[in-house]
């Protein structure tokens, strides 16, 4: 069924018409197809593009094609996939470009004074909102369950507690809006 994955030649992963075959492939096979050009056949249509990811929960494929002024993204649901054909190995540059569309915006480089000032502002705002915070070096620890790293934006928060994460992110967003409004 599945021949050598290392070859870069046209490799047809001919699966039977049963949608279950693609879904049964497994995450490691899917991961090996990521960042490669693929052709996906559903019952009525064919989609081509760079495979960005395969959702392990629903086996849905995310295909991207670079177009003028951005990218056209197509998600094909796992249950509708009939055949997946590997077309070619991808170029590294294009991958980085594509991925830049989805990654969170890179943290702007702040010097140490700005970082300290920003950290102080964030801590005082959180304390004002009765949220227990403590500074641990360059990080800010909230309620022992959440960590904020420089430059202390909502997307720099990490926690395993969804509720706390949501509340702190909201507070940081409000702070951002207030700073922007006063500028």
């Amino acid at each position: 069924m599945v021949t050598g994955l290392r070859s870069f030649r046209k490799r047809k992963l001919t699966l039977t018409a049963m949608q279950r075959e693609w879904r049964a492939c497994g995450p490691r096979l899917w991961l090996s197809h990521v960042d490669k050009q693929v052709k996906v056949k559903t019952r009525r249509q064919e989609h081509r593009g760079r495979l960005l990811s395969v959702d392990p929960v629903s086996a849905s494929l995310v295909l991207v094609n670079l177009v003028e002024g951005g990218a056209a993204v197509c998600v094909v649901m796992g249950h509708a996939v009939e055949e997946v054909e590997l077309l070619q190995e991808a170029g590294g540059e294009m991958t980085a470009q594509l991925w830049a569309l989805f990654e969170p915006s890179p943290s702007s480089s702040l010097d140490s004074t700005q970082t300290r000032r920003r950290r102080a502002a964030v801590c005082s705002w959180l304390r004002k909102n009765r949220v227990p915070v403590e500074e641990a070096g360059e990080e800010v620890r909230v309620a022992g369950a959440l960590t904020i790293v420089a430059p202390y934006r909502p997307e720099d928060c990490s926690s395993s507690n969804q509720v706390i994460l949501d509340r702190v992110q909201r507070l940081l967003r409000t702070q951002q809006e207030r700073t922007e409004a006063s500028d």
Partner: protein, 128 residues
């Protein structure tokens, strides 16, 4: 511009908690499936299992970031019977069984908020 009209609510699919609903029936399995389980082969070997779990988490994180990039964008859903509808993407549930959308343009009107079943969708596209 199409005037918003009330859309007929189609009958709901089978509920997990309905009485007399057989969890082994093909309909239940088709409509109420949950996460794809880890492969049995990986279960035997610790290292293989670790690799599989790593692959799963990388893929899932990328997929979730794609979904995040899609929020509040105009998305075109290609569904069965050659039906194509446009809506503003809201979110999906954890098992990717339903999509929450706003301003769903259907052939009979615009629905302000709607839930689309993933089994009804073949593919969907948007411009990043």
């Amino acid at each position: 511009m199409a005037t918003p009209v009330p859309v007929l609510r189609l009958p709901k699919g089978p509920d997990l908690n309905s009485r007399g609903f057989d969890p082994n029936s093909p309909r239940y399995i088709a409509l109420c499936r949950t996460t794809l389980a880890t492969s049995e082969a990986a279960g035997a070997d610790g290292e293989e299992l670790q690799q599989e779990q790593h692959a799963r988490s990388v893929l899932r994180e990328r997929f979730l970031r794609c979904l995040l990039a899609m929020t509040n964008k105009k998305v075109r859903f290609n569904m069965h019977e050659n039906v194509t509808v446009e809506a503003t993407f809201g979110s999906s549930d954890i098992d990717v069984l339903n999509f929450q959308v706003s301003d769903l343009h259907t052939p009979i009107g615009v629905q302000k908020e709607a839930l689309i079943r993933s089994q009804d969708v073949i593919s969907f596209t948007f411009d990043a």
